[in-house]
Symmetry: C2
Amino acid sequence: MLVTDLIRRKRDGVELQRNEIEFLVNGYTRDEIPDYQISSWLMAVLLRGMTRAELAALTETMLNSGQVLDFSELDAAKTDKHSTGGVGDKTSLIITPIVAAGGLYVPMISGRGLGHTGGTLDKLESIPGFRVELTTDEFLQQVREVGLAIIGQSANLVPADKLLYGLRDVTATVDNVSLIAASIMSKKIAAGADAIVLDVKVGDGAFMKTVEDARELARMMLELGRHAGREVVCVLTDMDQPLGYAVGNALEIRETIATLRGEGPPDFTELVLAASAHLLALSDLEIGQEQGRDRAAAAVQDGTALATYERWIAAQGGDPREAALQTAPEVRQVLAPTKGFVRSIGATAVGMAALRLGAGRQTKDDAIDHAVGIRCLMKRGDAVEAGEVLAEVHARDDESAKLAEAEVLEAYELADEAPAARPIVLETIA
Amino acid sequence: MLVTDLIRRKRDGVELQRNEIEFLVNGYTRDEIPDYQISSWLMAVLLRGMTRAELAALTETMLNSGQVLDFSELDAAKTDKHSTGGVGDKTSLIITPIVAAGGLYVPMISGRGLGHTGGTLDKLESIPGFRVELTTDEFLQQVREVGLAIIGQSANLVPADKLLYGLRDVTATVDNVSLIAASIMSKKIAAGADAIVLDVKVGDGAFMKTVEDARELARMMLELGRHAGREVVCVLTDMDQPLGYAVGNALEIRETIATLRGEGPPDFTELVLAASAHLLALSDLEIGQEQGRDRAAAAVQDGTALATYERWIAAQGGDPREAALQTAPEVRQVLAPTKGFVRSIGATAVGMAALRLGAGRQTKDDAIDHAVGIRCLMKRGDAVEAGEVLAEVHARDDESAKLAEAEVLEAYELADEAPAARPIVLETIA
């Protein structure tokens, strides 16, 4: 089999066979096919698309490139959740202790942020002492004992994805629904969950800008999950404005704790309850969506969700107390220049402002400043008076605070009339 | 400037600016941008195409990546000729001494064969002692004294093309008219000729399979040449059957000598005279196409073309005598199985048969057997009797001779009626 023939055929719109896709992906993973041939093939895939059969073959080849975790010894359903990434998205940190408190196991493998979107691992690392790297044995044991664990992708879990993602990132071949679906689903299936909720973000701050694109990605992932025998539900959720108030690592952990206490932002709390309800209903607890939601709300109410959170953080070496988190030396208020209603808050703009404050990384090797970030206290639809606080900038110094203040002000659009209400969960696809 | 941004924009169909193309090509030539980013960009270019402005920028950036030769001191026009490659195409070897005998200078930089197509340098190397590598000074001096020289591309002439071509060859990004046009014209302009004849091959054995594609390539190259202040004529010529009789290195040199003596195959002689006439008419001799053709014919008739050939070969260290050429130990005749007319001879099939005999190379590192090849004695339109000789196979041994015999027989299509006549020069674009 000649690599150039396979690239040429894909380039010319011909469907590749399963064994041909295996040849390319396994050859690359074993370092037998060079980067420059795979990047050429990826660009051809991006521009020509993939058939359903090609996508299934790619996902399974990636899945089988490494270890596939097995939790069959556990006595309750193993659940997982994935978000396609956004601004202020700390959902995983709250859902996991809620559903673990509800009686499920949550073995989660998560990622880091890049560009304007944050990453769950980066947020967890703002907790002093927290370890995101566990051995597979430690991971399995913690899930068994505490009910949940969130760790980084180890080298032997879907190594093909690690390599391909690294290459896609530097060759402008990231934003293709098939490649995104294969990357997400190979990891989620390898991580061993029986039931998975996929949160596909839609809007300005998300990879998917339109509901149509998000729907296409959701359907592909649903099909791949079911093909592998997993229960899957997709929720399409709003990412036109930042999620909740906080954007930035330690700020988002504070908001996580507040939400687990029942004191979270309304939009965010709604998403947490909806997604938790799906996971509880998908599992083997034999309860419906509504009962799932009640059980999630009860776990917040009676403190078991927060207690589970604390047990989990401590199990991974972290200090779960809010007081242990870093604070930024400079806090600057962003004031409304006029009276009006918040019509929109550009999620990408807020994400980029947080990135420039140091909350994210522009290249893979950048260090993160866990203390800094932004809190968008006024959200879409809120009425404000001139001079009222729209947001807070948490910065390392005065200069960067001023810069971020201007950027956040620019991200806010005020209008004379309130915008039409938009629910946080736009659509559920099951 | 971020490489991924430029790839992304090309991928999304946005035109790149001149400085952006310079950034990519110069960065790659200086080894500052890795292979895998350029191959991704090349695939995007292949699938999205290039605008005229992008193509001009690419060609000029490649041209300026190395030395540009200057022959302005010479007292007559400097001419050059390029063929897009085919089977049995030894045209350059005959045209160059003809037009040099006619009073022009021909500084030619040529290439090697790959796949089923032969290369001028490989053919020349079947002449004992012939050196295809001269220093720039030796090259200039020989053109000045003998009137012509044909050499290989030196490292400092269009180094960007050398690198890009090598990468395209292994990433399925060769066959795109813009990339082909930029590669050819950057080299032809750098080689310093004032007048250039471009022979665009069309048909089964050529890269351009249709007249439409050939026309597009021809027009692009004409525009690039004129933009650089060069006189250019394109001839679209037939490559559905091998050109002349001989396919294979020493065999083609023999046919070169025969043609210079006025004893060449009719189709091939016609192409040689037509292309020579264009070059003579394009130059500063102030003669027209018809006079150019007369002068070319006269140079063959009176022996000055052959004498110039011998002077040239000797100047580059070669032995110009036909007797000095290698012969293959096995010559096997391919006989007509039935009576009929030759309807077609698959040029690619004959080229591949010659390649497998050892006349070409499958990978860049293969060695060439200069003695072997095929002579297609019966050409399209010829009437043959059953048992008459269609072709000769010149082979290293009996086994490979038999294999090639079967392949050549398969390439010949006989029919009851003579096919419609097809001229060798299909179209002239000036």
